[in-house]
């Protein structure tokens, strides 16, 4: 990427509006990204210690570790490589820069690390994004071909060096460009367990070619403010998109998630599911928009958004929306948010569990129905464990103390 392109992206970032909706202003959902310069160069000892700790705790190996967005460490030969930023042809990115997202422009302006996964065989890739100081956003290109079934699991941990960063929030950002082609499938899971002074943004720009599938799972359990965007197009016939967003907001967290799917060919399928719980004084906007273009006959689009609010100052806005330009399709959308159902609590209490445990069971059950859709067992179990701990304690950041929950029943998983 040329400096000229980066400067254009930086200017565009400043010019592009966040969102015009007044709710964003009212509930302080807007946030500006700091002018990071990548001064927090990676200290290998930090990420090595963290990797060892996770290995002990989760018995989990990472294929790549990205530290502070300034350094990427490829630890295994798994069809993944780091790209040389100087060789990236910015002419191919021009459309994306001008038609994508404000924070995509920031990524183009700032990123120093780009990684690429290009697979023609089935496989699982685990990536750790570790941000400790003045970090930069990362570009991540994922491509699955020739019928490959590729699972990418990302664990985002942000643990700031408090003395150094006490006056400003650290950014944890990642922009994905995902292409599934030739009857292949990509399942991309992003698990966020950042510290409280991390601002998080993730973007997934995706395209499914003929008979191909993209699945995304977002599990947002940490961070100060979170902004996530899914923009995925079902370009080829018989292609499919599934998005699955799971959110647990507490304290004064702010969560802004938008999923846009577009059906552009015949017999496509797009399903967007969101489950969100807002506790304390957390606030969130969950928008899902499905577009079915003219000519996309026999396509199916579904949006389901469900929320629980349990806190006097907690808010959640669920905004399901559709635009349908083809008549021969199936399209449904629903959104419902409510306090915890008292009947459920009473039923559980009548068996002998106290109100606190009953609430915990209802909330974890509500989210675990969506967790059950995730195929990677370690992601499910770590997420579930973190959810239990955070609901139980009414908050808390970072990794859960107890990650070994192999005896817990999760819908869709094994009954143990």
């Amino acid at each position: 990427m040329r400096e000229e392109f980066r400067r254009e992206a930086a200017t565009l970032y400043k010019q592009m509006p966040y969102e015009n909706n007044e709710l964003y202003k009212k509930y302080q959902l807007r946030f500006e990204l700091p002018d990071c310069n990548g001064t927090g160069r990676s200290d290998p000892e930090v990420w090595k210690r963290k990797v060892r700790e996770l290995w002990d705790k989760l018995n989990l190996k990472f294929d790549v570790v990205v530290h502070n967005g300034t350094d990427a460490y490829v630890l295994s030969e798994n069809s993944i490589r780091q790209l040389d930023m100087n060789t990236i042809d910015d002419r191919k990115l021009r459309d994306s820069l001008h038609n994508s997202d404000k924070f995509a422009a920031y990524t183009y302006a700032k990123s120093e690390v780009a990684i690429e996964l290009d697979r023609v065989k089935d496989g699982v890739v685990n990536i750790l994004f570790l941000n400790t100081s003045d970090s930069l956003p990362v570009m991540f290109n994922i491509r699955a071909r020739d019928g490959a079934h590729v699972v990418v699991n990302e664990l985002f941990l942000g643990e700031t060096e408090r003395d150094r960063d006490k006056d400003k929030n650290v950014v944890c950002g990642c922009m994905h460009d995902v292409i599934a082609e030739g009857g292949s499938e990509v399942e991309l899971t992003m698990l966020h367990i950042e510290d409280r002074n991390i601002d998080v943004f993730t973007i997934v720009n995706g395209k499914t070619e003929e008979r191909s599938v993209i699945r995304t799972n977002l599990i947002n359990l940490g961070g100060n403010k979170t902004r996530h965007r899914n923009r995925i197009q079902a370009v080829g016939k018989d292609s499919k998109i599934f998005t699955n967003d799971i959110v647990l907001g507490f304290d004064s967290q702010r969560v802004d998630i938008e999923t846009d799917t577009t059906s552009m060919n015949v017999r496509t399928e797009s399903t967007s599911n969101t489950r969100a719980i807002m506790l304390g004084s957390a606030a969130g906007i969950i928008k899902s928009f499905a577009k079915i273009e003219k000519g996309s006959k026999n396509s199916v689009s579904r949006i389901n958004e469900h929320g629980i609010v349990d806190g006097e100052d907690a808010y959640i806005y669920l905004i399901p929306d559709m635009s349908i330009d083809e008549s021969d399709v199936i399209a449904t959308h629903s959104g419902a948010s409510a306090p915890i159902d008292r009947e459920k609590i009473f039923y559980m209490q009548s068996r002998g569990v106290d109100e606190k445990l009953a609430k915990l069971l209802v909330m974890t059950g509500f989210l675990s129905e969506s967790l059950g859709r995730i195929r990677s067992e370690w992601v499910k179990r770590l997420s579930y464990s973190a959810i239990i701990e955070k609901v139980n304690r009414g908050g808390g950041f970072g990794l859960p103390e107890r990650a070994d929950i192999s005896d817990v029943w999760i819908p869709g998983g094994e009954a143990l």
């Binding site: 009473f346 009548s350 002998g352």
Partner: protein
Amino acid sequence: MKLEIKELYASIGGKEILSGVSLSVNTGEFHVIMGPNGSGKTTLAKAIMGSPGVDITRGDILVDGNSIKDMSPDKRALLGLFLQFQNPVEIGGVGYVSFLRSVLEKRTESTVSTKELMEKIKEYTSKLQIDNGIVGRSLNEGFSGGEKKKSEVLQMAVLKPKIAILDEPDSGLDVDAVKVVANNINEISERLGMGLLVITHYNRILSYMKPQFAHILYKGRIVYSGAADAVEEIEKSGYERFTGN
């Protein structure tokens, strides 16, 4: 254990449903409460268990002489009360077995062996003729009407209460299922020496059960308390003699 309901007045959403109900049940006793629709039977059951939707305006509920009126439902359950719900709520994402294990661990304050619990559940899914697949599902979710009723009886068997209030354990069941449910309730209550307070519309289930006492609830008041012979009379002539209508 002795459960006493003394001159109980209760309302839902400001509307009085119970207007001075008095009743007493001991462990080992079998009581049946009958009454036409809307007479307050389910409200009485929920009031005993402490439903937050039922406001007790006067009177008291006692267990072994101590008031439980202000006690939370879980504490009432830990005393030994059990309510079988007429229509149990579905709770997605909460596993049937893991829920029962959580409950037992709370009750015993010790770790419960999943294997032993599974064996107990398997014993009763067999006795109650329920598909064993419910153990891999969320609590009450997607259960048929019959499975819900039987699952409640299964929970009663596992939790071993001292007095169980069964709110229409027969409604929605076919003839064969009524017999299966009734026989299991008999077996569990006799083995544990439980007290039973069965609420029902019809005496169909009572063909297989032998209550000692019958009570008829009408417009929020007990209008008959006495021998269980009344059940047969209701079957022949309806509630007319007891309600005056």
